[in-house]
Amino acid sequence: MTTAGAFVEVELVRPRVVAAGPAARPVWWRRLLRALPPYLYLTPALVLLVVWTYRPLAQTFQLSFHSWNLLPTSPITEVGFDNYTRLLDTPDLGAALWRTLVVILGMLPFTLVIPVLVGLLSRRVRGRAGAVYRAMVFAPMLVAPVAGAAVWQWLLDPTAGVVDKVVGSPINWLHEAGPAQIAIIVITGWHIVGFAVLVVSAGLTGINPDYAAAAGVDGASRAQVTRWITLPLLSPTMAFLVLMTVLLSAQWTFPLIDTLTQGGPSGSTTNIYYLLWDYGFHSYDAGLGAAAGVLFFVGFVVLASGLVLLSDRLSHHDD
């Protein structure tokens, strides 16, 4: 005798409750309370940013359409685009822009070339000696710019200064147009080079040593490893340093210019930041200074976005 039968599918066993609707949402204020803490933590930083950055920025923008001599008692009058047309008509602006470019180009050896060379070479100094070496390179960064400037003033003195004795020619460094600009660049570079070396060292440390090891085993010489592996992998760091140099060189020179040359002789060290300061706080033309500030701000935003885009394209997400 045979028995009749049929195959049936084995069903997935799971506990099933008759009407399991969506889980009840907590009441709105409870949800709000839960979402709040991250924003509370952010608040202090945001408040500081608004008070010290965004509000002054907006006020500068507003001020650039007014005329005011900074005296609280004198009236602020609206002048429309007057400040901007005045600014673009003076030859000062073009000359200051040119000098800013010179400062930036003059700074690149100190912020890029020397740090990369020192960084690559100092990798071979290991342990405590390496730490001491890096500390020595970084030390000038810790000297207050104004104090440094005072010492440099003695060193550069045309009658008793050490620099002229070493160079062997009586150059009046701070009172001749060309040498003054060079002095400002070199002193600023001396100040900043340690910081740039630190950035490069950090960048080099971030490169997995396996790459250099692999390239070595693959047959590359030390110079080839540097050229084909290390420098390309360091390019995001170098792009960052170029970005810093372009955006901040003129700012770094400011305390030195103000203590050593006050923009002179005959304006030869006046870059855009010093020009802006000069308009606002020497000529008491707040509107003109503000207009210059707004123009430079816009210009640097454009430059910075370009450089950031470039450095994004250079970075190789190393994972």
Partner: protein, 378 residues
């Protein structure tokens, strides 16, 4: 392809000896696996062979030429790193062609050779991509291709499979083994994974704390571990190791411990001596209470699918038993076990070295003693 000889290779980091006096010959075409737990010095040893790390002492010879002080780029060796170390800014083709570029091959020659190697490793579709656009398995193959491209004297591999998932790992294992067979290449391969070592190696070198514990074929190291370290490292679960004593009983030797009494299959008389008794979990058999040499209690039973592992307590020591499912054991059950004399391993409890039985010849009617320990069941 080349032979590699290591002569007393030693590396110390400060007061720590990472690699301690290693003597080793790697034959032409051999697949030698350096196996050991992390920190045993196997990667340090490989890096010294590669020339990435200078030895504190000893020599490295490649085909009888002393290369101890030769920089890595002048040694005819290729290395595959655990991280693969693919140059992130270069395309797959430029990564594979890098060793040739460093050797100043012409552009056309490089292109042809890269295409050839890429085809072998099934990478032809990917040559234009950057490493970050590849999966783990593809990156692994690019790293292999970069090693293959210049026909090196030997391949060094530093845990090349440890970043792959389990399934990819077993297929890549087969791929590397196949490549080794096809090329007849000399390979020195570092791993902490005993499955990789057992399946791929022609010989395994077991390292512990920088010292060489045993060298042998996979069968030798598994079937005849020369130390408690090797016994306790290989196998899953590894060999059971129990504190016991060898005692004469009548005219035969037995090994005894609390709740344990097994014959060693040696007819002899010798004073009692303490030993470490080793027996593999799969060599323990369930038996009747009367025939039991080992009596214990089951603690837990693990289900591995095809097999079961029972964790038992014998005396105050733990013992694992592995067998086809179902073992028919449950937690709390008393368990009666036995093991054949040929599956018992004895070690010195102090040094941890394997003990081999060597009959003392009686001078009247026996031949002179053998120069080496005679093969015995143990």
């Amino acid at each position: 392809m080349s032979r590699i000889h290591l002569q007393g290779l030693t590396r110390r980091f400060g007061g720590v000896t990472a690699v301690d006096d290693i003597w080793l010959d790697v034959a032409d075409g051999e697949f030698l696996v350096l196996l050991g737990p992390s920190g045993c010095g196997k990667s340090t040893l490989l890096r010294m062979i590669a020339g990435l790390l200078a030895p504190t002492d000893g020599r490295v010879l490649l085909d009888e030429a002393d290369i101890t002080h030769l920089p890595a780029r002048e040694r005819d060796l290729a290395i595959v790193f655990q991280s693969y170390a693919l140059y992130p800014h270069l395309s797959v083709a430029r990564n594979i062609g890098f060793p040739l570029r460093a050797r100043r091959w012409s552009r056309d020659e490089i292109q042809a050779k890269v295409a050839e190697v890429a085809a072998v490793l099934d990478l032809s579709e990917l040559v234009a991509r950057k490493p970050k656009e590849l999966s783990g398995g593809q990156r692994q193959r690019v790293a292999l291709a970069r090693a293959l491209v210049r026909d090196p004297g030997a391949f060094l591999m530093d845990e090349p499979l440890s970043n792959l998932d389990a399934k990819l790992r077993s297929s890549t294992r087969a791929e590397i083994s196949g490549l080794h067979r096809r090329l007849g290449a000399t390979v020195v391969y570092v791993t902490h994974d005993q499955v990789e070592a057992m399946t791929m190696a022609t010989r395994i070198v077991l390292l512990d704390k920088g010292r060489l514990e045993q060298v042998g074929t996979p069968e030798e190291v598994y079937d005849r571990p020369e130390s408690t370290f090797v016994a306790g490292f290989l196998g899953s679960p590894p060999m059971n190791l129990l504190t016991a004593e060898v005692v004469p009983d009548g005219d035969a030797l037995r090994v005894r411990a609390a709740d344990l009494d097994l014959p060693l299959g040696i007819t002899a008389d010798t004073p009692p001596r303490p030993v470490a008794l080793g027996v593999r979990p799969e060599h323990l058999r369930l038996t009747t209470p009367d025939a039991a040499g080992i009596r214990g209690v089951v603690r837990t039973v693990e289900n591995l699918g095809s097999e079961e592992v029972a964790h038992c307590v014998v005396g105050d020591e733990r013992l694992c038993l592995r067998g086809a499912r179902p073992l028919g054991l449950h937690a709390g059950d008393p368990v009666h076990l036995t093991a054949a004399p040929e599956n018992l391993h004895l070690f010195d409890p102090g040094s941890g070295r394997r003990l081999a039985w060597q009959p003392v010849p009686s001078f009247s009617h026996h031949p002179p003693p053998l120069p080496h320990p005679a093969p015995s069941p143990i």
